[in-house]
Symmetry: C2
Subunit: 227 residues, 2 copies
DNA sequence: CCCCATAACATTGTCGACAATATTCTTGAC
DNA sequence: GTCAAGAATATTGTCGACAATGTTATGGGG
C-alpha cells in the first residue's frame, strides 16, 4: 500500500484517510480484519498519531468500529445491515429528489442527463461488465443528492452512506440483474426533476430505491438458502 | 470547565468529548468561537493528543469545523442551515416512524405513552417554562427513532442531528408557540404506531416535522424583518 | 499617514517515548 | 491432557517536544 499524493489533501492525516478508505472499500483490507496501529504505521511510514486520527475518521464513516483498549476492526457486513441502509437511502434520497426538483440548476440537470444517456449507451453496447454499471448508478444517485443543495443531506449521504454502499457492492459483487429497469427509472426520474415536479420526484425515487432493496432481499434470501 | 467522571466513558478522550459536546451545545463555548488547542489542553489539564481526538469527534458530529493548519471553530448556526436540518429530519424521522410502527415492542410503546402523558401533565400545570418542553419533545422524537430498530438510522440521528438540534434550541431559545398542537400530534402518532399502521405513522410524523419547520420559518422571517 | 515586506510569535501537524490495559505464553496442579 | 494462574509480550492510550504553517507585530518606503 502506498500513500496517494495526487489528491488535494493537504495534511498527512487526510492522505492516510483516503488511502485507508479506498483500501477498505475495495477489500484490500478485508472486512472484519483487525487494524494494527504499529503494523500499519510502519508500513505507511508514518507516526501512530496521524494514523490514529485517520482511523478516527474511518470510524466516523462507519467503516471501522473501535473498542477502547482493544483496537479497531473493519466493519463486518451482513445482509440485515445492508437492508437497513437501503431503508435510510429510501428516506434520504427521496427527500433529495424532491429538493433536487426544486433547486437543481439548468447546468446540473444537463450533467445529469448526460450521465444517464452515457450510461444507457454503455449498457446497450454491453461493454459494461458489472463495473461501470455500479459506478454509474452510484454517480446518478450522488448527483441527485448534490442537486438537493442541502448541505446537511449531502454530507450525511457522503460521509455515512456512500462509502458503505460502495463497500457492500465490492464485497458481494452484486450484479444487480435489473440494470435495464433501473436505467429506465433513472430516465423517468430525470424527466420529472427537469419538469420541477418535486412531489413526483420523491415518489419515484423512493420507489426506485425500494425496488433495489426488494431485489436485494430476493437475492440475499436465495444466497442464505443455498448455504 | 471540569471533566465529568460520572459517565461510563472509559477513555480520557471520551470524557473530553462529552465535556466539550455539552459545553458547545449549551453555549458555554459560544458559537463561532475559535478552539485553541494549547489553551483548552491547559485548562482541562490534558495533553493535546487526547484533545485533538476529541475535537475530531466533534467535527464528525458537525459541532465544529476544521481548516487545515488553521484550527477548529464552533459551528455558526444560521436559519438556512436550521431549515436544512428540518428537511432531513422530515425524511429520516418519517421513515423512523414507519419502521417504529412495524418493530416497536410492547414495552417500548408503553414507555412512549408514559412520556407523552407525562409531557401532557407538565404542560397543563404550566410548570413548564420552556425547558422541559424542549427536552420532552426531543425525547419523544428520539424514542421513536430508537423504536425503528434500524441501527444506521439511529446512529445517523444521534451522531449527526441530535446535538445540532439541541444546540439550535439553546442558542435561539425557541419557545415553540405550538406546544399544544405539537402535543396533540404526539398523541396521535403514538396511537397510530401502537396500532401498527406504518403508512399513516410516516405520513403523520412527516407532517408533524414539516409543521415545526413551517412554524420556524415564520418565526425566523419575523426576526429577520425586525433586524 | 498608509501600505507592503520582513521578522517575531503563536498555533497546528507530526513524531517518538512512556504508561495502562489487553493478549499470549509458560508453568504447574489436577 | 486440560485447565487455571501468573509472567511475558504486544497493543492501545496518553504525553511532551520538534517541525511546518499561519498570524501578528515591526519597520521602512511611498
Amino acid at each position: 500500500m502506498i500513500l496517494t499524493t495526487q489528491t488535494d489533501a493537504t495534511t498527512l492525516t487526510d492522505r492516510v484517510f483516503e488511502t485507508l478508505c479506498s483500501a477498505i472499500v475495495e477489500g484490500d483490507i478485508p472486512a472484519g480484519s483487525k487494524i494494527s496501529e504499529p503494523d500499519l504505521a510502519k508500513r505507511l511510514q508514518i507516526s501512530r498519531a496521524s494514523l490514529r486520527e485517520a482511523i478516527g475518521r474511518l470510524e466516523a464513516c462507519n467503516l471501522v468500529t473501535r473498542k477502547p483498549n482493544v483496537g479497531a476492526r473493519v466493519v463486518e457486513l451482513n445482509s440485515a445491515q445492508l437492508l437497513e441502509i437501503y431503508h435510510v437511502r429510501e428516506a434520504l434520497e427521496g427527500m433529495a429528489a424532491r429538493l433536487a426538483a426544486q433547486h437543481m440548476t439548468e447546468q446540473e440537470i444537463e450533467e445529469l442527463k448526460a450521465l444517464v444517456t452515457e450510461h444507457g449507451h454503455q449498457i446497450e453496447q454491453n461493454e459494461d461488465h458489472g463495473h461501470f454499471q455500479h459506478v454509474g448508478d452510484l454517480d446518478f444517485h450522488l448527483l441527485i443528492v448534490q442537486g438537493s443543495h442541502n448541505s446537511r443531506l449531502i454530507s450525511l449521504f457522503q460521509h455515512d452512506l456512500y462509502h458503505l454502499v460502495r463497500m457492500y457492492r465490492h464485497q458481494f459483487g452484486l450484479t444487480s440483474q435489473r440494470t435495464k429497469p433501473a436505467l429506465v427509472e433513472h430516465y423517468y426520474i430525470v424527466d420529472v426533476i427537469a419538469a420541477g415536479d418535486s412531489e413526483m420526484a420523491e415518489l419515484m425515487m423512493r420507489r426506485h430505491v425500494r425496488a433495489s432493496r426488494e431485489n436485494l432481499e430476493r437475492m440475499l434470501s436465495q444466497n442464505d438458502n443455498i448455504e
